[in-house]
């Protein structure tokens, strides 16, 4: 028996092992259960090694991934930097375009407001010489430009045309020592001659000592030079010093303060009145002030804002002068808004008097003081403006806005 077992030992062991596994399988299938112990051993043997390999793989892959990502990031950074540079240049170009458009709009606005006939031009070159200041503009004789014509911007005068070519003109700047123009002060209408100094400033000559001209006062063209029409801004007085017989007055020209790129050449000048106030900045929209009396009034109330009330007041004053708003060529006189109209900007008259006085104020009923409220309408303090041939030449008579209504 023992020998038989020894002889068939291997096959017996095989059968036992196979049988045991079959039993194990049958038990699992029958009970639908597992043999956790065997599985735990196997998984415990494999899992740590697999985990280590996976960690190594992740580390290696992560290293190479990071390396290539870093390379890509560097490349991307370089590309983005180039893109940013390109966009910066493009942005700058667009800003310049926008600035040009805004300046063109400003020129167009100025051109529309001003009665003088002008043509737009672009400064294409600066031709500075020894002590001279001039620029080249892209309009010449083909565009109707002639020697001696005035060149201006909305900010002020720029210079005069000193040489004309077919497609370009040379303009002498107001700061050039050879430049001269007749000017007039804003407040006391003191007349003088503007001359360039070769620097960024100019001076006003021939203003006798004793004639009052203030520091910071605005200077306008007087029209006496027959080049610049009257009423164009020239600049602001920066210093006034008493001399022996004349005053030394320095002016900071407003037209050349910012090196204009677009200018207007006046081909048909029309004189204007000296403005009451120096031209300020472009008007901006302002919302109604919260501090007004009716700021708490609901929208369903009268619905009148201070601006509406002011417009209504101006409309009534205009109606009192039989002025029709929106009609009239450029340069025609506006209504006198300083006119005192009873019930509008002056206390209403008592009833007995209103019976004899027409409801609509008549021009004759306007007091003389109200009819000419502007002190500038009085004879100028310095000297009356000299008549020039250009005052008769314009399409409209020389404006006298400060005089009473006809």
């Amino acid at each position: 028996m023992e020998s038989i077992f020894y002889r068939y030992r291997n096959i017996i062991v095989l059968l036992i092992v196979i049988f045991a596994q079959l039993i194990l399988l049958a038990w699992q299938v029958r009970n639908d259960s597992d043999v956790p112990m065997v599985r735990v051993w196997a998984v415990s043997a494999v899992a740590p090694v697999a985990s280590t390999i996976e960690g190594l793989r992740n580390g290696t892959m992560g290293f190479f991934s990071n390396y290539f990502e870093l390379r890509n990031a560097r490349e991307q950074s370089r590309r983005l930097k180039t893109e940013v540079d390109r966009l910066r240049v493009e942005n700058q170009l667009l800003k310049n375009e926008l600035g040009s458009a805004q300046r063109a709009e400003s020129l167009a606005g100025f051109q529309a407001r001003n009665p003088s006939k002008m043509i737009g031009a672009r400064v294409i070159a600066a031709t500075p010489g020894m002590g001279t200041r001039s620029v080249l503009i892209d309009r010449g004789s083909q565009s109707g430009v002639r020697r001696g014509m005035a060149v201006v911007t909305p900010d002020g005068i720029v210079g005069t045309v000193i040489a004309v070519f077919p497609f370009a003109s040379q303009v002498r700047s107001v700061t050039d020592p050879g430049f001269a123009a007749g000017v007039e002060s804003e407040k006391n209408h003191v007349h003088g001659v503007l001359k360039g100094l070769g620097t960024s400033s100019a001076r006003v000559d021939f203003v006798p000592v004793g004639q009052k001209i203030e520091n910071g006062e605005m200077i306008f063209t007087s029209g006496e030079d027959r080049i610049f029409p009257r009423g164009l801004p020239v600049g602001r007085v920066t210093s006034v010093q008493e001399g022996a017989s004349f005053q030394d007055i320095t002016v900071e020209p407003s037209g050349t303060e910012q090196a204009p790129e677009e200018v207007l050449v006046i081909v048909d000048p029309v004189h204007q009145a000296i403005p009451d106030e120096a031209p300020g900045d472009s008007p901006v929209f302002l919302a109604p002030d919260l501090s007004v009396d009716d700021h708490s009034q609901p929208a369903g109330g009268t619905g009148l804002t201070p601006a509406d009330k002011l417009r209504d007041q101006y409309k009534k004053i205009g109606d009192a002068q039989k002025h029709v708003f929106g009609v009239g060529a450029p340069g025609t006189l506006p209504p006198n808004f300083n006119l005192k109209v009873p019930g509008v900007n002056a206390p209403a008259q008592p009833a007995p008097q209103s019976a004899t006085t027409p409801a609509t104020p008549d021009k004759k009923s306007v007091p003389p003081a109200a009819a000419s409220p502007d002190k500038k309408a009085a004879p100028p303090a310095a000297k009356p403006p000299a008549p020039t041939p250009q005052t008769a030449a314009p399409r409209t008579p020389a404006p006298q806005a400060k005089e009473p209504q006809p």
């Binding site: 030992r9 291997n10 062991v13 095989l14 092992v17 196979i18 596994q21 079959l22 194990l24 399988l25 049958a26 699992q28 299938v29 597992d34 043999v35 065997v38 599985r39 051993w41 196997a42 998984v43 043997a45 494999v46 090694v49 697999a50 390999i53 996976e54």
Partner: protein, 178 residues
């Protein structure tokens, strides 16, 4: 590896059992299992699941150890471990590989198992036997609708045989010097 044309055992050297360092008996089966369960995780390496590395390792050690009991033990251990790791009923691969290990050792005593052609044929035949027996167990014991596609299995058998020959050649390097 044998260089002669004879494939039957004809010398004492050919009958002698090969010896390996102890770590080889642990590391190689573990590595085979690891490759079998780990590499198919990656999409591009999924084909590795079709290569029965634990079976090839079982055949190799059973052939080279020339002991039926040792072949049986190696086959049973690797089979049960494979069952455990593959999350299936324990005993399916165990029974198949137990039989493969036993028969491999039996044949290893008759042939010159260092001959490449013998290794190629044995790997091919034992692969087919393993797959067929596994299919039988699936159908009979587990009542699973398994399919045994003979053409696919023949191709895979040839592939496994070729890989087995290369693997055996590598594993021969781990043998202890005589």
């Amino acid at each position: 590896m044998a260089t002669g044309n004879r494939i039957m055992v004809d010398s004492a050297r050919q009958v002698r059992s090969a010896a390996y360092p102890v770590w080889v008996y642990f590391a190689i089966p573990l590595l085979a299992l690891l490759i079998q369960v780990y590499l198919p995780l990656f999409e591009t390496l999924r084909f590795i699941s079709r290569i029965e590395l634990p079976l090839l390792v079982t055949i190799y050690f059973a052939l080279m150890r020339r002991s039926q009991l040792r072949g049986l033990a190696i086959g049973m251990t690797l089979g049960l471990a494979q069952d455990s790791v593959f999350q299936q009923h324990i005993g399916m691969y165990g029974i198949c590989k137990t039989l493969v290990g036993y028969f491999s050792a039996s044949i290893g005593m008759q042939f010159d198992v260092e001959h490449a052609l013998v290794r190629l044929i044995l790997c091919f035949l034992f692969y087919l036997f393993h797959q067929f027996f596994y299919w039988v167990l699936q159908r009979s014991l587990l009542d699973q609708p398994a399919v045994f596609d003979i053409r696919t299995e023949l191709i895979l058998g040839a592939l496994n045989a070729v890989i087995g020959v290369a693997l055996f050649h590598l594993l021969d390097k781990l043998r202890k010097k005589e």
